[in-house]
C-alpha cells in the first residue's frame, strides 16, 4: 500500500513561505493498494491538488471510480468538495461515505447545505455531473471497498464526534485518528487503541504543541504527545503527526517533531504534502 498526504493542515489553509515544506492545504490523504485501488480520506483543499492528477487519468475520461471516507464535516475536511474536478465529469462514480453529524442532519443534507445556492454556484449535489452517492454509516461499522478493508469508530472532537478509520490493504494497516481529543492525552480511549493495534502507520491529530495544550483543552484537538501514547500502547510501528495548527510554521513543526521524538522509541515524523510513501 502507498499513501500520499495532499493536505495536512488543520482548520485553515495557509499559504506563504512559512508553510512550504509541510504544506498549507487542509486535510486529504490518498491510499493506493498494490493493485492500484484508490481510497481518499477527507476532502480538504489538498484534494483539489489530487484532482488535477486524477484528471490526467481515467477520471478525465469519465471512467474513474473512487470511494471517499469523511472523518466529519467541519469545513476544513470538506472545503475541497466543490472544486474536486472529477465530480464534474459524467461517468465517474464517486462514493462519499461518512457518519451523519450529530444534531439530526444527515451527511447528505449537510453536504447539500455546503452547496446551497447562497454558498456555491453548484446549487446542490444533483448538479455534479459524475455519479455521486452519499452513504451514511454508523461508526463502529466495518466494510470492504475494492482493495481495502475499513473499520470505523467514533471518537470525541469537542462538542461532536469524528470517525476514526483502520484501513487494511496488502496486509498493511493505516490508522487515521484526526480531530480527536481524549479525556487526557495520557488516556486514549479504547476504541482508538483498538483501531491502532499493531498498525503499520498511525496518523494522529497533533494540532497543538504539548506546551500549548493547557490553553486549548476542550477545543477538540490533541497535543503531539497523545499520538505517542496511542502508538506506544497499541504497538504501532510508526506515527505521523497530522492536522498541524495554522499557526505552526515549518520551523515550529520541526521543533515539535524533535521534542516529540525525544519522548519515545516509536519512529515518528510530521505529515507533509508531497511524495507517495510506502506503508
Amino acid at each position: 500500500m502507498k499513501l500520499r498526504f495532499w493536505g495536512v493542515r488543520g482548520s485553515f489553509a495557509m499559504s506563504g513561505r512559512d508553510y512550504l515544506r509541510y504544506g498549507g492545504n487542509t486535510t486529504s490523504v490518498e491510499l493506493v493498494s498494490n493493485a492500484g485501488d484508490r481510497l481518499l480520506v477527507d476532502l480538504g483543499t489538498g484534494a483539489t491538488e489530487l484532482a488535477k492528477q486524477l484528471m490526467g487519468s481515467e477520471f478525465g475520461k469519465g471512467k474513474g471510480k473512487l470511494p471517499i471516507l469523511l472523518s466529519h464535516t467541519h469545513l476544513d475536511h470538506i472545503q475541497g468538495l466543490p472544486f474536486f474536478t472529477p465530480f464534474f465529469i459524467k461517468g465517474n462514480e464517486i462514493r462519499i461515505m461518512g457518519a451523519d453529524p450529530i444534531g439530526g442532519l444527515s451527511l447528505e443534507a449537510t453536504l447539500q447545505n455546503q452547496l446551497a445556492p447562497h454558498y456555491s454556484p453548484l446549487n446542490g449535489l444533483e448538479n455534479l455531473a459524475a455519479g455521486v452517492s452519499i452513504e451514511s454509516f454508523v461508526p463502529g461499522a466495518s466494510f470492504e471497498l475494492p482493495g481495502f478493508v475499513v473499520a470505523t469508530a467514533a471518537v470525541p472532537h469537542g462538542n461532536m464526534w469524528t470517525t476514526a478509520f483502520r484501513i487494511t490493504a496488502d496486509g498493511k494497516v493505516v490508522t487515521f485518528l484526526s480531530d480527536v481529543e481524549y479525556p487526557s492525552p495520557d488516556e486514549p480511549l479504547p476504541q482508538a487503541l483498538a483501531l491502532a493495534q499493531d498498525a503499520d502507520l498511525v496518523i494522529h491529530d497533533a494540532m497543538h504543541a504539548d506546551r500549548d495544550y493547557d490553553l486549548r483543552k476542550g477545543w477538540g484537538h490533541s497535543p503531539a504527545r497523545a499520538g505517542v501514547v496511542v502508538a506506544e500502547r497499541a504497538h504501532a510501528k510508526k506515527l505521523a503527526l497530522f492536522h498541524h495548527s495554522p499557526d505552526a510554521t515549518d520551523e515550529m513543526i520541526d521543533e515539535v517533531v524533535a521534542r516529540t521524538a525525544a519522548q519515545t522509541g516509536v519512529p515518528l515524523f510530521a505529515a507533509a504534502e508531497g511524495a507517495y510513501l510506502d506503508v
Partner: protein, 325 residues
C-alpha cells in the same frame, strides 16, 4: 484612502510554492481613511491574517468593525469565523450584504457556522453581530465612507461597491461576469443559456449603471479571474477577463485598474506574465493596470507624496501637496 489586499485569490485558497508571491488566500480588502477609519470588503480567507493584525492594534479592547460583502459564496465569507477580533467580548461586527432569497441575512451568514461545519455557532461567538441589507442604487454611509452598492452579474446575485472618502473614490467590482453572453439568475447553469430580449435589456441596463457609477472613480478593483481563452470555455462561471474590465474602465474614464480574484490555477509565473501583458495593454488605453498581490497596499487618488520647492523665493514656505491624478 488606503487599500490593503489580504486575499486576492478566487474560488478557494491555494497554498504552495506556486502562489508564494501573489498569495493563496481568498478575497479580502482592508480600506482605511486618512483619519484611520476602517471598512473591510469581503470576508474570504484573507480575513484571518487581517483579523490578527487588527486584534493586535486593538490590544485586546473591543472595537467596532464593518464588513461589506459582495455576495456569500464560500470564498467571500469563509474567513469570518476565523476573524480573531470576533472573540473579544464587546466587539461589534456589522455585516452588509445583498439579500437574494427569503432567508434572513443572519441565517445565511450564520449557516456557515452551523455545528456540522464549525465548532462554534455565530450566536455563541463573543462579538455582537448586526446585519444590514444593501440594495443596488441605495447609498449609505459608514463613518467617513460614502458607499454605493452596484448590481453585478453573478450566480444568485452579487454587488460591487463604490466607496468615496477623503475626496477620492474607488470601486470594488467582484464577482461579476461580463454583460453580454450570460445573465446570471438564481438557478444552476451547466452552460450559457439563450438570452431573451428581456435578458439583453437587463444586461445592458446593468452594464450602463455600472459604467455610470464608475465615472470619476480613481481606482477600480475588478474580478479578472479568467484569461480570454479560459473565459471562452467557462462563460457561465460568473467571472470576467482583464480585457472586459479594461473596456468598462475605459468607458468610465477610470485612471487605474487593479486585477483581482485570480484563478486558483494561475501560478506566480503566469501572474507575472498577466501583469506585464495587461500593464502594456492598459497603457495603450491610458489606464494604469496593477495586478494585486497579498500584502499590496496602495493609496487611492494619490500617486505619491511630492515635495515641491517653494515657488516664491523668500516666503520660506514649502508646499507639500498631495497630487490627485
Amino acid at each position: 484612502m488606503q487599500l490593503t489586499f489580504w486575499g486576492v485569490r478566487g474560488s478557494y485558497p491555494v497554498p504552495g510554492a506556486a502562489t508564494v508571491r501573489y498569495g493563496g488566500q481568498t478575497s479580502c480588502v482592508e480600506v482605511r481613511s486618512g483619519s484611520g477609519e476602517c471598512v473591510i470588503v469581503d470576508a474570504g480567507t484573507g480575513m484571518r491574517a487581517l483579523g490578527n493584525k487588527l486584534a493586535g492594534e486593538a490590544g485586546g479592547q473591543p472595537r467596532p468593525y464593518h464588513v461589506l460583502l459582495s455576495h456569500v459564496h464560500w470564498d467571500h465569507i469563509q474567513g469570518l469565523p476565523f476573524f480573531s477580533p470576533a472573540y473579544v467580548p464587546g466587539t461589534r461586527i456589522s455585516v452588509y450584504a445583498l439579500v437574494t432569497a427569503a432567508e434572513e441575512l443572519n441565517q445565511v451568514i450564520g449557516g456557515i457556522t452551523r455545528h456540522e461545519f464549525f465548532p462554534l455557532p455565530l450566536e455563541s461567538v463573543p462579538a455582537d453581530f448586526d446585519f444590514h441589507q444593501v440594495e443596488p442604487g441605495v447609498d449609505f454611509t459608514i463613518g467617513v465612507f460614502h458607499i454605493s452598492p452596484i448590481a453585478l452579474n453573478h450566480p444568485f446575485g452579487s454587488v460591487g461597491y463604490r466607496i468615496d472618502a477623503d475626496g477620492v473614490s474607488w470601486a470594488y467590482v467582484a464577482d461579476t461576469a461580463p454583460f453580454d453572453q450570460v445573465l446570471h439568475k438564481q438557478h444552476f447553469l451547466s452552460g450559457p443559456e439563450p438570452l431573451s430580449a428581456g435578458d439583453k435589456t437587463a444586461l445592458d441596463a446593468m452594464r450602463a449603471a455600472l459604467v455610470e457609477r464608475l465615472k470619476g472613480v480613481d481606482t477600480v478593483v475588478y474580478d479578472t479571474h479568467f484569461l480570454p481563452e479560459e473565459y471562452a470555455r467557462f462563460p457561465h462561471y460568473g467571472h470576467s477577463t482583464p480585457d472586459q474590465a479594461l473596456d468598462i474602465c475605459a468607458e468610465a474614464s477610470v485612471r487605474r485598474l487593479v486585477l483581482y480574484h485570480h484563478a486558483p490555477a494561475h501560478t506566480d509565473d503566469q501572474m507575472d506574465q498577466i501583469a506585464a501583458s495587461y500593464l502594456a495593454k492598459g497603457a495603450t488605453r491610458g489606464i494604469e493596470v496593477l495586478t494585486s498581490f497579498e500584502g499590496m497596499s496602495i493609496p487611492v487618488g494619490v500617486e505619491e507624496m511630492i515635495v515641491e520647492e517653494p515657488t516664491h523665493p523668500g516666503t520660506g514656505v514649502h508646499a507639500i501637496p498631495q497630487v490627485p491624478k
